[in-house]
């Protein structure tokens, strides 16, 4: 009973805040609704028994991505009202695409229920939820069975980093950079000059 109530509560909030996110007038409110949607999805993950994914969602998406969005939205000077002008014109096309996607999803899920033979295989592949905790189960495979993919993922992140630097870093002339070793190695003999000015004359 309680899980059912929790499920409807979480999914209701997730859908509602998702709708509010795309219809809110103020972009900052949109991001806040997005965060709410993330939180309720995390709740749904907990209900599914995937507590590690739930925590990951909160830490990565709420903690990093959404807060970054918030900053970007507040920093950028975009006229969102103007951006939204085209919405009514694009509505028919986007509604059609959405309907097609919905139909496909329904088709896929009905087919899924009919496919009894795959249920066993999925049960086989999934880690034993009742015996090991999520985090444990992930830790057991990520450096063994999925070692290759894990390392490749690291390389992808490296490429993303190189790319960001290549495309944005500029060494501008005349910018004073802090050079710690230069600062530490400064010699008082060269940096400080002792003078003995007479009263009333100055330097």
């Amino acid at each position: 009973m309680l899980p059912t109530i929790a499920f409807y509560l979480f999914s209701g909030i997730a859908v509602g805040s998702g709708l509010m996110m795309i219809s809110a007038r103020n972009p900052v409110h949109s991001v806040l609704y997005l965060i709410l949607a993330f939180f309720s999805s995390a709740g749904l993950f907990v209900l599914l028994g995937a507590e590690f994914l739930a925590m990951l969602l909160v830490v990565v998406y709420v903690g990093a991505v959404a807060v970054l969005f918030l900053f970007v939205v507040m920093m950028l000077d975009i006229d969102f009202v103007q951006l939204r002008q085209g919405m009514m014109q694009n509505l028919p096309a986007s509604a059609t695409v959405g309907l097609i996607l919905l139909a496909e999803l329904i088709l896929a899920f009905t087919a899924r229920n009919g496919a009894g033979e795959t249920a066993e295989k999925i049960a086989e592949a999934a880690p034993m939820a009742e015996q090991t905790a999520n985090t444990n189960a992930l830790g057991q495979v990520i450096y063994t069975d999925y070692f290759f993919m894990f390392q490749t993922a690291g390389l992808i992140l490296l490429v993303a980093m190189i790319g960001a630097i290549v495309l944005t870093l500029r060494h501008r002339e005349g910018v004073r950079r802090q050079n710690i070793s230069e600062q530490v190695n400064r010699d008082p003999k060269e940096a400080v000059v002792l003078t003995n000015p007479r009263p009333g004359q100055g330097l």
Binding site: T110, R112, E117, E120, Y146, F148, Q151, I162, G163
Partner: protein
């Protein structure tokens, strides 16, 4: 007779992936060298990258010499090495090595000489090698993303040029959409079979499935192929190609034109023939998709190129058409068909690299020129260059006895044997149409009023052009050598 060798230990798996390991470590070492030496290190890092590619090639050769004649699977099923992937790795490494050499002079002249270029090319190459060795949906995606991310950055490498940044952004956004399609397909395949491993997927697909599960698999493979069709720029997922080709720096385009297409074509073959083998007389659903994509690409490639004035845009449409021809061989779904595709990709790599060396040579005192009309009367000033370029275009048009003819012949023959007569007829007609715009360039080179000489080329580029020209011209004499090699490679998939 299919035999699979499975390697259990991580240590032995690493031996299997030794070329990839060398490449990854080498890329990081080159990057560190570049970072500490600063902007002046472009030449050193470029030569280092070229050396790294050669060493990786030697290590692939070593692997091939160690009797890898059957599917050898490592990393708990994520990674596979067989003659098929080894052959594709050679092609990819050849394409990347040429791309590194071709860029050196150009980048220095255009003030783009930053050491990240060779590093990114090496990392993209690594992604392609992982792609062709993928034996799991996850490693497929990982390799694809590693390759694509590096390519997006390379497309926008000339960040001060509006067209280059635009092409990078366009490529990135459309590439992200295609990755989304591909992932949707992967998730459907996983949902209906309960596994991401290709061997297990093939087993499930070959077994007795209910109608609805069959339906789900078709959905999954369709989305997967849509994502891959984007990477080989096949119609209807070709929209990015002309703009990206036109906007990106020319050596980057030369890289785009060959190696990534070869890697994606390898994946295309692996997820179609590898996962859903064609048995006698029963048509697999993916064959209809491949037939449609092949027809659409050949026809669009032939007609849309006619009106182009920019030679890079023209080459973009030409590459769309050529991917269509290559897919004709795949549509048969037989060993001979895959054999033909591999031969086609080999010939395409050599020809297209040669053409791009010539495009790089289109440089006057005031800078690079890219218009087809700039080639006018090239035969007056550069006799050899004009001859080689015309020959390469004849080869692209598929005129015997040049290499391109054999490529087309060996993709059309298996399709005829498999009963796709209409497909082959359309392909032949499209190749007649495309011959028009190739021949128009030859006419401009030989019969138009001269426009003025081009600047001389550096030695490395002349060498690449010479190799490409000799291959294209002389393939007929030693056709048996690559034929044996490709049929050995294709045989390891069946």
């Amino acid at each position: 007779m299919e035999t699979i060798k499975v390697i259990d230990s991580l240590h032995a798996s690493l031996d299997l992936a030794l070329p990839e390991v060398i490449m990854a470590l080498g890329a990081m070492a080159l990057m560190m060298y570049g970072v500490f030496r600063g902007e002046k290190s472009f030449s050193a890092v470029s030569w280092g990258a070229f050396g790294l590619i050669v060493v990786t090639g030697l290590s692939v050769m070593d692997l091939a010499a160690n009797d890898i004649t059957v599917r050898t699977i490592g990393f708990s099923g994520a990674f596979v090495v067989e003659p098929f992937s080894i052959f594709l790795k050679y092609l990819i490494l050849a394409g990347s090595g040429a791309a590194v050499l071709m860029a050196m002079d150009f980048m220095k002249r255009e003030k783009l000489a930053r050491f990240e270029y060779p590093v990114l090319v090496v990392l993209a190459t690594l992604g392609m090698m992982i792609m062709v060795s993928a034996n799991d949906l996850i490693s497929l995606y990982m390799g694809l993303e590693l390759q694509s991310l590096a390519l997006y950055v390379l497309a926008a490498f000339n960040r001060d040029s509006l067209r280059s940044t635009e092409s990078g952004l366009k490529y990135f956004v459309l590439g992200a959409v295609s990755s989304g399609l591909l992932l949707y397909g992967c998730s459907l395949l996983y949902g209906f079979t309960g596994t991401t491993n290709f061997d297990a997927l093939a087993k499930v697909a070959a077994g007795d499935l209910s109608g609805s599960a069959q339906m789900g698999l078709i959905f999954g493979i369709t989305f997967l192929l849509a994502g891959l069709a984007f990477k080989i720029s096949a119609v209807p997922f070709h929209m990015w190609t002309p703009d990206v080709y036109e906007g990106s720096p020319t050596p980057v385009v030369a890289f785009f034109a060959a190696a990534p297409k070869i890697a994606a074509m390898g994946l295309f073959i692996r997820v179609t023939v590898g996962l859903f083998p064609v048995s006698e007389g029963v048509e697999q659903p993916w064959q209809q998709i491949v037939v449609f994509v092949a027809i659409a690409s050949m026809v669009l490639g032939a007609f849309a190129a006619i009106g182009q004035t920019n030679i890079k845009r023209l080459m973009a449409y030409s590459s769309i058409g050529h991917m269509g021809y290559a897919l004709v061989g795949l549509s048969a779904g037989t060993k001979e068909g895959v054999d033909g595709v591999l031969l086609y990709m080999l010939i395409y790599l050599f020809t297209v690299t040669g053409v791009f060396v010539c495009i790089l040579a289109m440089r006057r005192k005031e800078g690079m020129v890219e218009h087809i009309s700039d080639l006018a009367g090239m035969s007056q000033n550069h006799k050899i260059g004009a001859f080689v370029l015309s020959m390469l275009f004849f080869s692209l048009a598929g005129i015997p006895p040049l290499a391109g003819f054999w490529g087309k012949l060996f993709v059309f023959l298996p399709a005829i044997q498999a009963g796709y007569i209409l497909l082959v007829v359309i392909g032949a007609l499209a190749s007649v149409v495309s011959a028009f715009y190739y021949l128009r360039i030859v006419k401009i080179i030989y019969f138009d009023e001269p426009e003025g000489a081009f600047q001389p080329q550096p030695m490395a580029l002349r060498l690449i052009l010479a190799v490409s020209a000799i291959f294209t011209l002389g393939l007929t004499l030693f056709l048996q050598v690559p034929r044996e090699w490709t049929s050995f490679a294709a045989g390891s998939l069946f």
